[in-house]
Symmetry: C2
Subunit: 339 residues, 2 copies
Amino acid sequence: MIPTAGAGAPTLEQVAAAAGVSRSTVSRVVNGSPKVSPDVMRAVQLAIEQLDYTPNRAARSLAARRTMAIALVVPEATARFFGDPYFAAIVQGITRELEASDYVLNLQLASPESPSDKTVRYLLGGNVDGALVVSHHTGDGFLASLGERMPVVFGGRPLDPATDSGCWVDVDNAAAAASGVAYLVERGHRRIATIAGPADMPAGIDRLEGWRRALRAADLRDDLVAQGDFTLPGGARAMRELLAREAEIDAVFVASDLMAVGALGAIRERGLRVPQDLAVLGFDDSPAALSGEIAITTVRQPSVEMGAEMARTLLRMLAGEDVPRSRIMPTEVVVRESA
Amino acid sequence: MIPTAGAGAPTLEQVAAAAGVSRSTVSRVVNGSPKVSPDVMRAVQLAIEQLDYTPNRAARSLAARRTMAIALVVPEATARFFGDPYFAAIVQGITRELEASDYVLNLQLASPESPSDKTVRYLLGGNVDGALVVSHHTGDGFLASLGERMPVVFGGRPLDPATDSGCWVDVDNAAAAASGVAYLVERGHRRIATIAGPADMPAGIDRLEGWRRALRAADLRDDLVAQGDFTLPGGARAMRELLAREAEIDAVFVASDLMAVGALGAIRERGLRVPQDLAVLGFDDSPAALSGEIAITTVRQPSVEMGAEMARTLLRMLAGEDVPRSRIMPTEVVVRESA
DNA sequence: CTGAAAGCGCTTACAG
DNA sequence: CTGAAAGCGCTTACAG
């Protein structure tokens, strides 16, 4: 016999009867209303304890017109979501912050192109009170305008400031990348390539821009660009392409640590030493930077903290508070072995 | 001004009015009841379309006493959940199967020791109709007995057949490991070590047992065991330990591909060649097996398919169908470069 | 095949 | 500070 979930669970009505008060009063206690006398409060809490009462979520949602659920929307294939420690950090920050709240997190893995009908219906069908959107791409107008329909916090700046809505948490990717590349220049590197992130994502666009900016400031050539896709094999592929194109490269700025790990593999295949023959600078400071034999020097962004800040901001929006449109977090160059 | 989610959404009542029928009839159409005349059905569908109606999930849950939500419970730290491609495969299979259903998936990352109050309340509070539990450990009596409270499908056999409840999907880990080790023996290896998985998990216990069984069958010594934890650094650590203890090792069976990647790094540090000096056999056939420079020979388990099978089984339980208590999936040795 | 009505378990003004 | 009552938006026997 298969049991049924939540069958026979005690109701607020039963708690009220047990405590000898009205349902309204039990509701007030459950929701932490301040205007309940101490002794009544105690009686109700006792009854709740004895009956092991848990409020029915559906009934609560229906009556209060709030779901107490938040969607985490990630327009990426499952494999990429799980493959990049960056996401792990973001999720960790989010769950850490939500743990203390009454909200639950619902994960919506969408396709990178445009969200499925099911995702759209889910989001717009009143199933969540707000959404956290991470890793958004150009062309996803639906997500970009989601902020007009419900409270939304984006991880990363909007691609098109005109159409985009909602708040966001980000780092100054261009400045961060530029400071990393400036470090390479300072160390004496002159032929500096880059492995860029996707050209349809803010992080991809801005880090490339930062690399460019730093090279121009140093009067160096900015022609060595290989396109990456934020995956490990993509980083390896891009590095091979770079190596095939130009033998004189003495440093490479890779737009994510995971791609940097791939690049390191490609460099090793060619028998080159890191950092002696070729310096490698990553971005993120995710666990990937420390996963290989050589610790990767990287531009650190506080990913866990960014996830936490996203959640915190959404929680405040949900509580009706005013929040700043954007929050820019600090970055720093973390020097290790690879550069 | 922050918008409110789902505000002003059309109700079933409005659809009924627009279509000129009763609410009951609209409900029947929405739920695909067969006893609705074709023309009425068409009229209702038209009204639904025009109003862009989506049923209110909370109201539906409350009235039907079903949540249309499934929990995915993973008693692992965020970092491990995201770090191992095995989980990615499982989730991929699950979401693929659920995509076509009306159920949504709620991720519950719990601590490996015992689930937090919030997780327990969430599961028992009638928030989901059933649960999928992956990566369970000894000592988690709550999860083990969850099957007595609601429909549950486990990924992996129960640790204690007596107290455990619910259904499960698994491979024959012992037999699979034994066949892999038999392959190593066949290739002429004689001093075969193992890096085991956690001793509090079925997969850890059974793969170790399989390694042992195959060695004894071949009259070889089974004393070279190092304890791993299913993480990459853990695999590297265990391999270093093995290498320090015994110089004559000519092969190692590693209980997961991710640990095998770590082991490969440790072997390279020692200047040994794979597979010439030391053969490495992994387990899973996850993307990790192909992530490095050398393709890892591994014991394949159909992880995506196992996730899909778990979801399928739960869906059938939820539909009131009888399902087999367990389902054992096939495995095979995939020969590549490392052994 | 269709509708009227009760009810799912809560919250929330409104009175007092 | 507390309670009676309406109502949230659905589903589901029950009649017909």
